[in-house]
Amino acid sequence: METITMGVTATEDRVRTPFFHHPYVVAAVFLLPFLIVFGVFRIWAVANAVVMSFQEMEGIGVSRWTGFDNYIRLLSDATFITALKNTAFYTAGTLLILIPLPLVLAAVLRSPLVARASAFRSTIFLPVLTSLVVVGVVFSLLLATNGLLNSFLGLFGVEPLRWLEARNLAVPAMILMAVWRWTGINVIYFTTGLANIPRDMYEAAAVDGAGAFRKFWNVSVPLSKPIILFVTVLTIFGGMQLFVEPFILWGSGGGPGQGGLSVVVYLYRTAFTSFQLGYASAIGVVLALIIVTLSLVLLKVFGFFKRD
């Protein structure tokens, strides 16, 4: 037969049991293990949550349909608005720092200006490997008013800041933790992105007389667009789902004067302290809608859909 290199068994199989070689059957065989696990442990649970968001329930089994009541209640819930504001502020803050800073760092680290760049990359990558549960308590010491961070800032004449006690510093404190934790991975993402930019683009820019800064701005940044997009979406994802950080810094999870209260912390409280599962589900659905909308708008603005 036509099979020479691939041996005979394959063709025999094919003749004997053509059913398993039907294209759709093949696809099903490959896809089903994933889809079953995904369907059972994800879709089913998600569907459950969405259904609950249209119900009022205190306790399992005790529920009644209330239509959009939960969603209407959300609109006038001052605590939810506070949580949403904090979360948005946090996400914006992480975006403003965790995109440009790692991008510049990645570029600098690829230049001949730096000795032992990889050792540096590894060092700032270490926080990515740990969970906040593990280093969290250390942070509450470092951020204390008489802690190390303020001593350091004091060298530059900054008055001690009350990171852990002042409402308006709660989000900045969490952003600091995020910067520590995620700079390393974003540097790696951008380094890989920059490595994929063809060398001649820089050479062409150099011919045009571009200096280091212009090369960075006119070549590196625009050509890193897909990776910047990816990192942005990931950052929004992580930022909007802020949860562990406030618990680590303040036992209650709300932070000083609700300054650290995030949407997911509020969801968690509603579900597990008040046990209003329906309302909690509505919070979750709204949060998911916000994330999806943000991501779609972003992808649209960046022209992601045009490529495919």
Partner: protein, 320 residues
């Protein structure tokens, strides 16, 4: 494509080994073939380039130290006498150091059992998810069937709901399946990893199409193509996923906490939080156990720094 970028032979300089690339300079390069009309000018430029290098490196060293401080703090806290963990928190260099916290940790907690549980969960998740994710990714990337894109988009979209919302339905499900307090109960929901699927699909899409075409012309079945061509070719991507999956599982707290009920089934992260009592937190043990949780990951990282960094870098670029 990423495989070509691998350059195991290049040992020329530290900075090359990260992504196996030549240094493309964003900064102004030092001219090598210079006609040197003014020797003085050239000398000046070399000096200023060196000075720039020293300054940049110095700044980066300061930044690196800043990133290491929390780890240093964790370590010296673990080495302080139990009741001085906070009392001496202002001392950058501890005056008294003791290993008694480690001794207490090993005596008072089943830390090694927790450690083993973390290992079991990490390995179980990696092995299981690698198989189903790769198979599904292949189907989504290379096979043709109805609703292919809809399935893919649906999987990604459902990932955007906060996990906390799913806790209660999932918990009830686990009870019905009798999976509470079992390793399987922790592993199963982690298996169908949507981002892993996304990454693997992109990676497979990037494989050269002619290999598949050639095999199909030769009459190879899709199963054969998968196991004999795809699997060998995606091994680097699998290594990346192995790193990501094991990291996530190692550091995960919420779900294992809900599933695991008996102390002997706790993974490390859960065990550590169980030491934080409301009326009497054992901070000495918390710090010490945290050191023990961090160290193996660090060792693994330094043993396989390239895989970590290359792999995660490619994860970010979607396998391209």
């Amino acid at each position: 494509m990423s495989i070509e970028r691998e350059n195991p032979g290049s040992m020329t300089a530290e900075r090359h080994d990260q992504v196996g690339l030549a240094d493309q300079t964003e900064a102004e390069p030092v001219p090598r073939t210079d006609e040197a009309p003014h020797r003085h000018d050239r000398w000046h430029r070399v000096v200023s380039a060196r000075r720039k290098k020293i300054v940049t490196t110095a700044i980066l060293i300061v930044v690196a130290i800043a990133f290491l401080i929390p780890f240093y703090w964790l370590l010296i806290s673990a080495l302080r006498p139990a009741n001085r963990v906070f009392a001496d928190a202002g001392q950058f260099f501890p005056t008294t150091i003791t290993l008694s916290n480690f001794q207490a940790l090993f005596q008072e907690t089943p830390i090694l059992v927790w450690f083993a549980n973390s290992m079991i969960l990490a390995v179980g998740t990696v092995v299981g998810s690698m198989l189903i994710v790769t198979m599904a990714a292949y189907a989504l990337a290379k096979l043709d069937f109805p609703f292919r894109n809809a399935i893919f988009v649906g999987v990604l979209a459902s990932q955007m709901l906060p996990f906390h919302l799913l806790l209660i339905p999932l918990f009830i499900l686990m009870i019905n399946l009798s999976l509470i307090d079992t390793h399987l109960g922790v592993i199963l929901p982690a298996l169908a990893h949507a981002f892993g699927l996304f990454y693997m699909r992109q990676y497979i899409l990037g494989l050269p199409q002619d290999v598949f075409d050639a095999a199909r012309v030769d009459g190879a079945s899709e199963y054969r193509i998968f196991f004999q061509i795809v699997v060998p070719m995606v091994k680097p991507a699998m290594a990346t996923l192995a790193i990501i999956f094991s990291l996530e599982q190692w550091n995960d707290l919420l779900w294992p906490l809900i599933v695991m009920r008996s102390e002997d089934n706790y993974p490390l992260a859960v065990g550590i939080t169980s030491l934080v009592g409301l009326y009497r937190a054992r901070w000495d043990l918390v710090m010490t156990a945290s050191v023990i949780a961090v160290v193996p990951i660090m060792i693994l990282f330094f043993l396989m720094r390239r895989q970590f960094i290359n792999g995660l870098g490619q994860f970010g670029t979607g396998g391209r």
